[in-house]
C-alpha cells in the first residue's frame, strides 16, 4: 500500500509491528505484554528463546495459547484470555504481582498507546479528562514500574493524525517513561534529545517519516 507518490513503502500490519518488537527481546527477560497488539508479541518469540511472560493477575511463565477445547478455566491472563503455563511457571497473589511490577523487576513492559511524546510521556488509557468511567487497569503501574517501557502503535490515527507528538494532549498514563516506540512505519528511541529514528520500513525516507509525525525526529 504505497502512500505517497515519491516514497514507495509498505507499512507494517499489526502482526508485523509485533514481530518487529519481538525480534528485540532477548532471552532471559521478564516481560509484561499489555492487552491488544502487545499481546501478539508473544507469538513471535521463538519457542527456543526463553522469555518469561508475566501477567498482572499473578502469573509468571505463560506459554502459547491453549488448543481450542483444552482451556483451563482457572488460568487466564490480564486480558481475560485463556493461557497456558511453561514448566517453571509460578503463581503469586495480586499484591505480590504488582510488587514485581512496581519494584522494577520486569525487564520490559510493552503497552499500546494513543499518544507518545518526545519527553517519554505516554497517554493510553483515556481520550479526555471527561471520559465517562475510563478503565485504567494496571497500565499506570506498569508504565511507572517496569525497567523499560516500549509502546507498539500505528504511527497515525485512522484520520491521519500523528500519535508521535511533541506533548501529549490526552490524559497521561505515566510521565517520562517510554524508552522505545514500534510503529507501523519505524522504530523510535526516546532519548534526552527527543525521538531518534532507529529503523524505518523499507522504502521510507526520513523526510517522509518526519512529514507524517507531529514531534521532531532526530536522525540516528
Amino acid at each position: 500500500m504505497p502512500d505517497t507518490a515519491v516514497a514507495s513503502y509498505t507499512p507494517l500490519d499489526r502482526k508485523g509491528i509485533a514481530r518487529r518488537a519481538a525480534d528485540d527481546i532477548p532471552e532471559g527477560w521478564y516481560v509484561n505484554l499489555g492487552i491488544g497488539m502487545p499481546t501478539l508479541i508473544a507469538d513471535y518469540v521463538p519457542a527456543d528463546r526463553e522469555v518469561i511472560f508475566h501477567s498482572e493477575n499473578g502469573v509468571l511463565g505463560m506459554g502459547p495459547a491453549p488448543e481450542p477445547g483444552h482451556e483451563n478455566r482457572w488460568l487466564i491472563n490480564a486480558g481475560k484470555q485463556y493461557v497456558t503455563l511453561r514448566p517453571g511457571a509460578s503463581y503469586v497473589h495480586h499484591a505480590d504481582s504488582f510488587a514485581i511490577i512496581r519494584g522494577g523487576h520486569l525487564d520490559l513492559c510493552v503497552l499500546g498507546g494513543f499518544e507518545v511524546a518526545e519527553n517519554g510521556d505516554l497517554a493510553n488509557w483515556a481520550t479526555s479528562a471527561n471520559d465517562t468511567a475510563p478503565a485504567v487497569g494496571g497500565a499506570m503501574d506498569l508504565a511507572a514500574g517496569a525497567k523499560r517501557l516500549w509502546v507498539v502503535t500505528d504511527h497515525t490515527t485512522k484520520t491521519g493524525a500523528s500519535k508521535i507528538v511533541s506533548r501529549c494532549a490526552y490524559p497521561l498514563t505515566a510521565i517520562g517513561s517510554v524508552k522505545r516506540v514500534y510503529t507501523n512505519l519505524c522504530v523510535l528511541d526516546v532519548e534526552p534529545r527527543g525521538f531518534v529514528v532507529r529503523w524505518m520500513v523499507d522504502g521510507l525516507d526520513f523526510d517522509t517519516l518526519q512529514a507524517r509525525t507531529d514531534a521532531k525526529l532526530n536522525r540516528d
Partner: protein, 227 residues
C-alpha cells in the same frame, strides 16, 4: 474446637450492615465468590461501597447488586468490560460513585490495610489525572504520591480448599486478589470448593492462614463459566 464453617448462606452473611465496605476477590470470572455475592444480594444490605477490580458484567452478581441500587460507591481499576452496561448507565445518570484506582495501587492499598500500614508512597499515577489532589513527595530522584490503606468491613473470598481453622488454598490464577483481601477486612467470609481435614494442607502450602478468615461456606460450584 475451632470450627469456622457455617452451614447456611444466612449464617455466612449475618451482620453485614448497611453502609459496609465490601472487598470482593476475583479477577475476571476466575476466583470470584459468585455464591457469596448472590448471598449478599439476598441478604439485603444497602448503601454499600464495593471494592473489586471490575465493575461487574451482565445482569448478575455485582451488576445485579448495582441494578438493585444497593451500591453507593464502587472502587475499582477497570469499570469498563464487554458487558458493563449496568454500571455505565448508573454512572452516567449520577446514581453511583466511582473511585478509579490503578490496579497495583488498589492491591497495595488493600495489602496495607491488612498489614497495619496506614499510608505509603508510590510512583504510580504521578503526573496523571489519578494523581491529582494527592500529596506528592520526592524520595531520591523521583516523585511519589501518598496512598492510603483501603480496609474493608467485609471481604468475600473464593478458595479451592479450606479446613476448619480457615486455612485456604487457591487454584491457579484464582488466587489473584483473594489472599490480599482476606487480610484486610474485619469479617472475612470464604466460599470454598473443597472442605479438607485439618492438616491436609501441608503447612508450607497454606496460601492464606486461617488467622485471616472468619467464616467458611462450602460451595462446590465447579469451574468458572467459559467466557
Amino acid at each position: 474446637m475451632i470450627d469456622k464453617f457455617v452451614r447456611t448462606m444466612a449464617e455466612a452473611m449475618d451482620g453485614i450492615a448497611d453502609g459496609a465496605t465490601v472487598l470482593i476477590g476475583g479477577f475476571g470470572a476466575v476466583g470470584q465468590p459468585n455464591a457469596l455475592i448472590d448471598g449478599l444480594i439476598e441478604q439485603g444490605a444497602k448503601d454499600l461501597t464495593i471494592v473489586l477490580n471490575n465493575a461487574g458484567s451482565g445482569r448478575v452478581g455485582v451488576s445485579r447488586l448495582m441494578e438493585l441500587r444497593r451500591v453507593r460507591r464502587i472502587v475499582c481499576s477497570f469499570p469498563r468490560s464487554s458487558d458493563s452496561t449496568v454500571f455505565e448507565e448508573l454512572y452516567k445518570a449520577g446514581l453511583i460513585e466511582l473511585e478509579l484506582v490503578p490496579q497495583g495501587t488498589l492491591a497495595e492499598r488493600i495489602r496495607a490495610a491488612g498489614a497495619g500500614i496506614p499510608a505509603f508512597y508510590t510512583a504510580t499515577s504521578v503526573g496523571t489525572l489519578l494523581g491529582q489532589g494527592k500529596e506528592e513527595r520526592r524520595f531520591g530522584e523521583r516523585n511519589y504520591v501518598m496512598e492510603h490503606a483501603l480496609p474493608g468491613d467485609v471481604a468475600l473470598v473464593e478458595a479451592w480448599q479450606a479446613d476448619r481453622w480457615g486455612n485456604l488454598t487457591f487454584r491457579d490464577s484464582g488466587r489473584n486478589f483473594n489472599p490480599v483481601m482476606a487480610t484486610a477486612a474485619r469479617l472475612t467470609i470464604v466460599q470454598t470448593q473443597h472442605v479438607v481435614e485439618l492438616g491436609d494442607i501441608p503447612p508450607e502450602q497454606v496460601m492464606t492462614p486461617g488467622i485471616h478468615v472468619d467464616r467458611v461456606l462450602h460451595v462446590p460450584y465447579g469451574d468458572p463459566p467459559l467466557f
